[in-house]
Symmetry: C2
DNA sequence: TCAAAAGTGTTTCGAATACACCCATGT
DNA sequence: ACATGGGTGTATTCGAAACACTTTTGA
């Protein structure tokens, strides 16, 4: 049985490391009169996260009421805390699954990739991020075209030098915006084109 | 400044009445140790709602922490409480907007219409529900085709007799399922068709 | 016979995918 | 040369939207 002070915040942070999705789950109690974000700040290093959004509020197995947040970190940045591969996490497994599901869905219709990718990247590197987050293969060709057409990506200066094995140097890209934006209105049931 | 007992639940119920979207907003305090749904049950007549889902948890203007829920009611059913047109509501305007946005989005990629429509209906009647909820015009022809192709609707027995002005009798339909289901996976970035 | 409402047939459109081919580099 | 990874050009697919036309009724 929980008492009246047992509201908590659970932060679920995700990032892509190598070709794997990694997660960090931390909990902090909510203090009297404090905003939720303050407690989240004690659970996760929010300043190091590129994007934060609320997931849901639920009763935890121990009976505490908790509000869960999803945080996303750029790949390739050093971040304190214990990161584990998503498959290995057993604590708060439902929340981790919810975080993954939210990320997967938003990768398809928003620019949320900005929060996982580094500042500039090649299409191949971005493809690895998407593969890790989505859990299925992604075509680099189509990824580039979809994100360019939607105006989500733009070319950046410079090229990535090829590796020892050769190959054409890869052009660099960046995300146009670093704030969450819906880039693909749902295809069905849109307003008529011509009024 | 809120104290430790000030967690509340705000229920935002929506329904379509005539060709208008109507809303009912009620608040109830959360009692110690009680699940959120229990408090929601005191705010709204949950048994009369066809669908309920959580919206978000936020700090209200009065400083109280509150978890908001969206409820949907079948059109054409008598429901107690004060219903007002969505445009007229000033209290909890942000939550009402969030509820509308959630409904609009889910109308496009789920079968959530089942919660607004009566048990059986004509395509024209369903169209009015969609128009009221989406806030823009909807073609009856396309609505029928999209929902039939997705397997969301199925024919029901009988026809609706024409009005005084004549016209072909309208066939009746029903929703195949009365539980929320995602019927349209996002078009982009799906797994490859042929592995 | 005509107007009104419902429903079907067919065409158009656009975004995404698939696939063939060309480009630039290291060995 | 040729292997390798990067990138573009083009064709195909498919769901949705648009629009023309047929069906069925009341007046």
């Amino acid at each position: 049985m929980r008492d009246s002070t047992s509201h908590a915040v659970v932060g679920v942070a995700l990032r892509v490391r190598d070709t794997r999705l990694e997660v960090q789950v931390e909990r902090a109690p909510l203090r009297r009169g404090e905003p939720l974000e303050a407690a989240l700040g004690r659970a996760l290093d929010v300043a190091a996260l590129a994007h934060v959004e609320q997931l849901e509020t639920l009763v935890l197995p121990d009976g505490a009421l908790a509000t869960a947040y999803l945080g996303l970190a750029h790949s390739g940045e050093a971040l304190p805390g214990e990161w584990r591969r998503v498959e290995e996490v057993t604590e708060h497994a439902g929340l981790v699954a919810a975080a993954q599901a939210r990320l997967r869905a938003k990768l398809s219709y928003t620019n949320i990739g900005f929060a996982l990718a580094p500042a500039t990247f090649t299409i191949s590197e971005l493809r690895e991020v998407y593969v890790a987050a989505l859990g299925h293969d992604v075509s680099a060709t189509n990824l580039q075209r979809v994100l360019l057409r939607r105006g989500v990506l733009e070319p950046a200066e410079g090229h990535r030098a090829p590796g020892r094995t050769g190959g054409r140097p890869a052009a660099l890209f960046r995300f146009v915006s670093n704030r969450l934006e819906v880039t693909d209105e749902f295809a069905a049931l849109r307003p008529p084109h011509r009024p």
